[in-house]
């Protein structure tokens, strides 16, 4: 009968370490297996459980992380996990499916049997060999306390973003130096007819040329390192780091099938390691000048790429990137208070829009305001807060959060108001709604306190929600506005592509994908008196409260995650390619599977929009 399980046998035979087992054992192995299907995002086991199986991944992928959530490794098809847990009799890590995963489960006793019988098998799984290497790198990262996702799971090719600087062996040393300076490169690869001949680094220039007073007209080949160590682009990053530290070198040419693909430096790797949000938050607090903050904040795009590569959810990515913006703001306010002295009255620094919703991805314009206590007297305290606002706003601008073109900034007196002044603003928006004005004002309904006395905001929010909940006319206006941006889906579920001359034949993932969902969630929240501002939280809270059905809210939440994720991946691709991330996706970038899901998501948004349109007769507003 075993012969009928031949497909499974063949699979095992093709993967390490099962391929080391004798044929007779392999023949018997399939019938000992059990099979499970694990849905994406399901926790397979967590620390301190009694392990029963060795897991062999038939298809899909899982992520192993320690109990603090630090990512240790990612395993894919043909990999195994749970081995050392079985041997120790206790699980140590969290293992979570990151794709829909089919696993073969080898029962504990059978696995132990194999380990007892076959030395190689045991060796593979014991803390030695490959495993020991893995442990070493793991140790290195954990001991630094750096919650990093990078080096264990990233491949060298993930680091190759900039163009590689190359030259032929016969150009002069000075020409090579000039080229390196122009390209801001710390190493140049010397190629002879497409074949890698050597490498010259900054250090070589210094020690082999300047220090020896060599003629700078001499050919560059005279100072190059011949036949340097190289690394393949499929190798993991930690391998490069190990090689560099072992050989005390800082640059490695990257190869792919014998061809030069680029060069990777130690600083590329280090930089990536520090491209962890937690690390960056710490760094931001250490900066003492705007210039330093600006410098630090240039690392944000890299953090984004790292997080996307680590397959974090769009929700958590938005959260982390927004926290960085919040941290920069906070630091700026601390610096401002150091400079201008403590605030004369209590205040609350507000942010609006995506930063407030915790949904920022790439850095965008700053939208902020100052909410001052009712003790605020413009005559007496006006100057202080004006200076404060100007300082923070300039600082944000320097850090890559451009000035808001609509002037929604604390520097604008309209948005630097006492509590009753803000109440008056909201009174106007809600009780005298005007479509255009509301469209501009919608970001004010997504507000969060970044720094200062959050009770002030809380009071304002309670006031706003009480008004908005009761005023259906206002909600109808919001609903009318929410229908401005419609999902790009035509008849027969075809994509409707942008055709504005600049981004032809693309999908605008922001305005036709995310904005409609954000708008809907805002209406639901305001109508139900929910004070959450994050879109996902809003959707989680409003379902079934009367404004939207449980099913509808859940559907929208999934649509949101899907569209956000597709947008993030698109942006990560652009950053890696060295460009500035945008929201315009070519449909060809999508797989069939993604395309169908995206259409489903758009369909959901369309239905929800139509429903709210019908309810509020929104076509008339």
């Amino acid at each position: 009968m075993d012969i009928e399980l031949i497909e499974i046998r063949e699979f095992l035979a093709a993967h390490h370490p099962f391929n080391q087992l004798p044929d007779a054992e392999l023949d018997k192995l399939p019938s000992a297996l059990e099979l499970s299907y694990i849905r994406r995002d399901t926790l397979i086991f967590s620390p301190d459980m009694d392990p029963h199986y060795l897991y062999i991944i038939r298809s899909g992928a899982v992520e192993v992380s320690d109990k603090h959530g630090l990512l240790l490794s990612r395993r894919g098809e043909g990999d195994t996990f749970g081995a050392r847990s079985v041997l120790r009799g206790r699980t140590r890590f969290n293992v979570r499916a990151i794709e829909d995963t089919l696993v073969y489960k080898l029962p504990r006793f059978k696995f132990k049997q194999l380990c007892d019988h076959y030395e190689y098998f045991a060796y593979f799984y014991h803390a030695d060999g490959a495993a020991r290497l893995q442990d070493a790198v793991q140790q290195q990262t954990t001991s630094r306390g750096d919650h990093d996702v990078g080096l264990m799971t990233l491949q060298i090719k993930d680091f190759l973003s900039r163009k590689c600087v190359m030259s032929s062996p016969d150009i002069s040393i000075s020409a090579a130096a000039k080229k390196m300076t122009e390209e801001m490169a710390s190493a140049i690869l010397i190629c002879d007819h497409e074949k890698l001949a050597g490498i010259v680094t900054d250090r070589d220039m210094r020690s082999r040329c300047l220090a020896t007073e060599m003629d700078s007209k001499a050919p560059v080949s005279s100072i190059m390192t011949v036949n340097p160590y190289t690394i393949n682009q499929e190798d993991y990053a930690y391998a490069a780091l190990l090689l560099m530290s072992r050989r005390n070198i800082h640059h490695l040419p990257v190869m792919h099938q014998g061809k030069v693909m680029g060069v990777i430096s130690a600083s590329d790797l280090i930089q990536r390691q520090s491209a962890s949000p937690i690390f960056l938050v710490g760094d931001i607090y250490k900066q003492t000048t705007i210039a330093q903050l600006a410098e630090t904040s240039t690392r944000i795009p890299q953090v984004l790429v790292t997080l996307i590569d680590a397959d974090a959810t769009a929700h958590s990515i938005g959260h982390m990137i927004s926290i960085l913006g919040e941290t920069i703001t906070t630091r700026l306010l601390q610096l401002a208070e150091e400079k201008f002295g403590p605030a004369p009255v209590e205040y609350c620094w507000l942010s609006f829009g995506s930063l407030a919703r915790l949904e920022q991805t790439a850095q965008s314009d700053q939208d902020n305001g100052l909410l001052l206590s009712n003790n605020y007297d413009p005559q007496q305290h006006g100057e202080y807060f004006e200076k404060l606002a100007q300082f923070v706003s300039d600082g944000m601008n320097a850090c890559g959060y451009d000035y808001c073109p609509g002037n929604v900034m604390a520097t604008n007196t309209s948005w630097r108001q006492s509590l009753s002044g803000w109440k008056h603003h909201f009174d106007n928006w809600i009780n005298k709604p005007e479509p255009k004005a509301l469209m501009h004002a919608s970001i004010f309904f997504d507000m969060r306190c970044l720094y200062g006395k959050s009770e002030l905001l809380h009071e304002l929010q309670q006031y706003v929600l009480a008004l908005s909940k009761a005023n259906r006319i206002f909600l109808a206006y919001l609903a009318g506005n929410a229908l401005h941006h419609t999902p790009p889906l035509g008849f027969f579920r075809r994509f409707v592509l942008v055709n504005d001359g600049e981004h032809n034949n693309t999908l605008d993932l922001k305005h036709s994908g995310l904005v409609p969902i954000i708008d809907l969630a805002r209406i639901y929240a305001l109508a139900s008196g929910i004070n959450a501002v994050n879109t996902q939280s809003r959707l989680e809270l409003v379902g079934g409260l009367g404004e939207v059905s449980t099913q509808g809210a859940a559907d929208l939440k999934h649509a949101l995650e899907l569209v956000s994720m597709i947008r993030l991946r698109h942006q990560a691709r652009m950053i890696k390619a060295g460009g500035k991330p945008d929201n315009f996706l070519l449909p060809d970038e999508l797989s069939n599977f993604e395309r169908n899901h995206l259409k489903d998501a758009f369909e959901i948004v369309r239905t929800m929009q139509a429903a709210i349109g019908q309810r509020y007769q929104a076509g008339r507003f």
Binding site: M1, L5, E7, S31, S36, Y37, D100
Partner: protein, 230 residues
């Protein structure tokens, strides 16, 4: 057509009353799994069979493969596969599909012997198949031939599960996309060579696990939520 008004237990008893004593009656005398049981408390028998054709009135069973699903895991140790000896020669056009030729099949089991194995495996379990009409039809016909009356069993059909959920989402399922292989692809399951009864049975079992994992979750789902009727 009134069958839908009866519970499956009532149907089993009716069926038992019509059956003369013997292996089939023994099988039917044991209660079926309750539709109110949760899925992870139920054992399934994923079964697939190959036949000389698709017409169960005329064609004959050639091979049977099955495996057990317990606690929502496929237990390969309890899987089985065997050939069945048909009375007539295997038509060439079907042999091309399932690669069972006369000389191999002549070493197969007698139909009665094969049915005994199936009944034993099915006892206390729920039949799991993809597009179960075929399996239902052939098993029923075979039991009529061998034991003089038809069989019945609780049934879960992965085809029906998918069909219903597509309908609920307002999608019109099209035939091509509802085949076992295409559905497996939708659930990120690996490609298997088709048309071996055991590998199809395993493939069906995996698809079932995937379908359930993607629906409201094990804790809430009961047998009645996924059960079909023959």
């Amino acid at each position: 057509m009134f069958e839908h008004f009866f519970t499956i237990e009532q149907l089993r008893k009716r069926c038992l009353n019509k059956t003369r004593s013997g292996p089939l009656a023994d099988y039917l005398s044991e209660p079926f799994a309750s539709p109110d049981n949760k899925l992870n408390q139920i054992e399934f028998l994923a079964l697939d069979l190959e036949a000389t054709g698709l017409d169960f009135q005329r064609d004959e069973i050639l091979s049977v493969g099955f495996t057990v699903v317990r606690n929502m895991s496929v237990i390969l140790a309890e899987s089985d596969y065997f050939l069945v000896r048909p009375k007539q020669a295997i038509p060439e056009n079907t042999a091309i599909i399932h690669h069972i030729f006369d000389d191999a099949s002549s070493k197969g089991l007698e139909l009665e012997h094969a049915l005994l194995k199936i009944l034993k495996a099915l006892q206390g379990r729920v039949l799991l198949a993809h597009h179960a009409n075929i399996e239902c039809g052939f098993l029923n016909r075979a039991c009529q031939q061998v034991f003089g009356s038809g069989i019945m069993f609780p049934l879960v059909d992965t085809f029906t599960i998918e069909f219903k959920s597509l309908k609920r989402r307002g999608v019109t399922p099209y035939n091509q996309g509802m085949r076992l292989a295409s559905l497996r692809e939708d659930y990120n399951l690996p490609r298997y060579p088709a048309h071996n009864a055991l590998s199809d049975a395993i493939a069906t079992a995996e698809l079932f696990l995937a379908q359930i994992a993607h629906r409201s979750g094990l804790d809430e789902m009961k047998l009645k939520d996924v059960m079909s009727r023959c």
